[in-house]
């Protein structure tokens, strides 16, 4: 009986510890996002690679299903089932994994620095350099934010020019807002942006406008809050005025008709993904276009924007990081990037996107995307900060109090946010 008991205990233990992945000693593995276009692109690029190489075979799969890709990657890291290569990692997440030694420092690989200087300008290289001086990511793709507008509505306002500045935007909004049903409540607003109190929603309103106003200043510098400045204050003031005057609705957009397509709003801040969506669902007579995001009245020079950057990384569990990097180089060379744009309508993050001959004919055929390619010269990503989520959460709290509920002046809200962020950064050393 004792031996039987022992047998069952050993059986149970063996069952538990035999769970694991065996991808084989002779293969690298690459995960992409599960966007249809990226799946098609990745499969093609991997097939091309395998045909041209005699070395390690490259296996490909889309990232396993989950609530979010960040969640799946985290689970893979914890379970030590990470692939060799992963594209679609948000730039803001890289530092968190880098600090935990989960990623390969790419600048230690042969040929990397030459490659990255060819692909990216010095500002981008500085942006992606981690606090320890290493680079853990290859900038891959961007979706620059711009202002989309309904051309017919805008023409109807008879403005001298597109409302590019805070005061011209507010004036246009005042003209446009209407109570169509006559019930005493506004039901046509000039625009909208998410009021959801989730940290990443601030990337698409406050942070985008902050980058535009400040020409790309960082939120954090030398591990201290850097955003207590006139630009952040003016952005808060601008957005506060918008909600005070009911130019944007405070309703959280949930399931329901798209307010832009439905004609309830005239503008919004969005990215190039909007083009495919609108072309599929818009009515025949619906006309739209894009222009840069709104800036303070005294702004001069080019208008920067947030680009929601995604990067390619190599995990430290990789059996051959150098070979993995050789594949990445193939994936993001001129031909690879052209194939990527053609298949996904997303922009690669590389220098000269709007001027390289290789892409000219593509943008001639897709003029709406050319606008974003021109904007791609003036984009910013996000800081390398391990606690960037908490930083944006703090900003969200102050955003809600000041912008949405008018309970604080912008100066006080930004100052309070600065204090709280410095506490978080200080405790994270």
């Amino acid at each position: 009986m004792r031996y039987c008991r022992l047998f069952f205990i050993l059986l149970a233990v063996w069952t538990l510890f035999s769970c694991g992945r065996d991808k084989g000693d002779s293969a690298l593995e690459y995960w992409s996002s599960n966007n249809i276009g990226e799946i098609t692109f990745s499969q093609q690029i991997v097939d091309q690679w395998n045909l041209s190489q005699d070395g390690l075979e490259l296996k490909y799969q889309p990232i396993p299903e989950g609530q979010s890709s960040e969640e799946i990657i985290l689970a893979a890291v914890v379970g030590k089932t990470t692939p060799d290569i992963y594209s679609n990692m948000w730039q803001g997440s890289v530092e968190f994994y880098a600090k935990s030694n989960v990623l390969v420092p790419l600048d230690t690989l042969d040929g990397f620095m030459e490659f990255i200087r060819d692909r990216c300008d010095s500002l981008t290289i500085r942006e992606i350099t981690s606090s320890d001086g290493h680079i853990y990511q290859v900038p891959w793709k961007i979706n620059p934010f711009m202002t989309i507008y309904n051309r017919d509505y805008m023409d109807g306002l008879e403005l001298d020019s597109l409302p590019q500045t805070y005061s011209s935007y507010l004036n246009a909004a005042e003209k446009f807002k209407k109570d169509l049903s006559g019930d005493g409540y506004v039901d046509q607003w000039f625009g909208n942006t998410s009021v959801k109190l989730v940290w990443y929603q601030r990337l698409f309103n406050f942070y985008t406008l902050y980058i535009a106003a400040s020409d790309g200043l960082p939120l954090i510098k030398d591990n201290r809050a850097y955003f207590n400045n006139e630009y952040a204050i003016e952005v808060f003031r601008f957005l506060q005025e918008i909600y005070k005057q009911n130019y944007f609705s405070k309703e959280q957009q949930a399931a329901g008709q798209d307010p832009f397509l439905g004609g309830r709003i005239a503008t919004k801040f969005t990215g190039p993904w909007e083009i495919e969506y609108l072309e599929r669902y818009k009515p025949e007579e619906f006309n739209y276009d894009f222009y840069p995001v709104i800036v303070p009245d005294d702004h001069e020079g080019p208008i920067y924007t947030y680009c929601d950057p995604k990067s390619v990384v190599i995990f430290s569990t990789s059996s051959d990081p150098q070979q993995a990097f050789e594949f990445i180089k193939t994936m993001v060379d001129e031909a690879g990037d052209l194939l990527f744009i053609q298949m996904t309508k997303q922009l690669p993050r590389r220098q000269g996107l709007d001027t390289l001959n290789a892409y000219t004919s593509f943008f001639d055929e897709n003029p709406r995307l050319r606008v974003f390619a021109e904007q791609a010269k003036y984009v910013r990503g996000i800081e390398n900060c391990e606690v960037i989520t908490e930083v944006f959460d703090v900003i969200t709290q102050e955003y809600e109090a000041c912008v949405l509920y008018n309970m604080k002046e912008p100066e006080e809200a930004i100052a309070d946010a600065e204090k709280a962020v410095n506490v978080i950064l200080g405790s994270n050393k």
Partner: protein
């Protein structure tokens, strides 16, 4: 040997999915850990931090506020509906099924539907209110109203279960008590107050305990509907623990919050047992 074999699946489940996580959580409360790096021993720092964490106490207060609205509302409505179902009415089975249906629908689905209903500008409830000449109500955008809105929604979702429990309780009251009361000339209210209520006291106690435990787990509604706003007025303790664990990756501190919160729930249930439960 056979008995061990038959019990082993549950034993393995108990050890793997209940005992181990609880023990590991307690161990975690003495560490700082972001799930992918090495755990760092910090002694009782996490426990000390709780007492300086104003947002946690705000979240706890919000949860208690929710319970103070939700539990009486739930008990009252469930009891009334059960009393109504205990009468001789047409289509009793249909009403019973209808009241129970929200219980079996996914909480996420229900929350998303109610989020639409509560919409400030396009929500159906406000459209009806404006249509009859009343003003819009900021159901989810006013800090004094948002938690009440969530409590109403949660009551609608869960009341069906307690209607069934109360119905069973009501049907177990011996009819002869009511007949005797009729002979004595008691009216409906007197019968309800002096016969029905005392007889179903164990059911009331059970419903209160279940509602309390369920209410302390308030998470889906604020997570989907409000994100904890406006101005942290709907930030529940569970949502706060979730944010620390799965947004900030403060696994040690979130484990500490969880253990502390479990202790509070236990205390509340013990107090309820001694104050609500009466001897038959």
């Amino acid at each position: 040997m056979l008995s061990y074999f038959l019990v082993s699946p549950y034993l393995v489940h108990l050890l793997l999915f209940i005992s181990f996580p609880v023990i590991f959580s307690v161990v975690l409360t003495f560490h700082k850990w972001n799930i992918i790096s090495e755990m760092q021993f910090v002694g009782v720092d996490n426990y000390i931090r709780i007492f300086h964490d104003r947002l946690f106490w705000k979240a706890l207060l919000n949860t208690v506020t929710f319970l103070l609205i939700h539990i009486p509302l739930q008990i009252l409505i469930a009891l009334l509906l059960a009393y109504f179902l205990d009468q001789k009415i047409f289509l009793k089975g249909f009403f019973r099924a209808t009241f129970f249906m929200p219980v079996v629908i996914s909480g996420v689905v229900v929350t998303m539907v109610w989020q639409q209903l509560y919409g400030l500008d396009s929500g159906l409830i406000n459209k009806l209110l404006v249509g009859i000449g009343l003003g819009k109500v900021p159901w989810l955008t006013d800090k004094n109203v948002a938690m009440i809105s969530i409590a109403i929604m949660a009551t609608w979702k869960n009341v069906g279960l307690y209607v069934i429990l109360f119905l069973v309780g009501l049907q177990s009251v011996p009819r002869r008590y009511y007949e005797a009361a009729d002979v004595e000339g008691a009216n409906q209210w007197q019968k309800f107050r002096f016969i029905t209520l005392p007889a179903i006291n164990p059911t009331i106690f059970m419903v209160t305990i279940l509602s309390t435990i369920g209410g302390f787990n308030l998470f889906i509604e604020p997570y989907i509907m409000t994100g904890g706003g406006p101005l942290n007025s709907t930030l529940s303790a569970m949502l706060y623990i979730y944010k620390h664990a799965f947004e900030y990756y403060h696994m040690g501190y979130s484990a500490t919050l969880g253990i502390f919160f479990a202790f509070i729930i236990m205390m509340v249930v013990v107090v309820q047992k001694y104050t609500i439960e009466k001897d038959d």
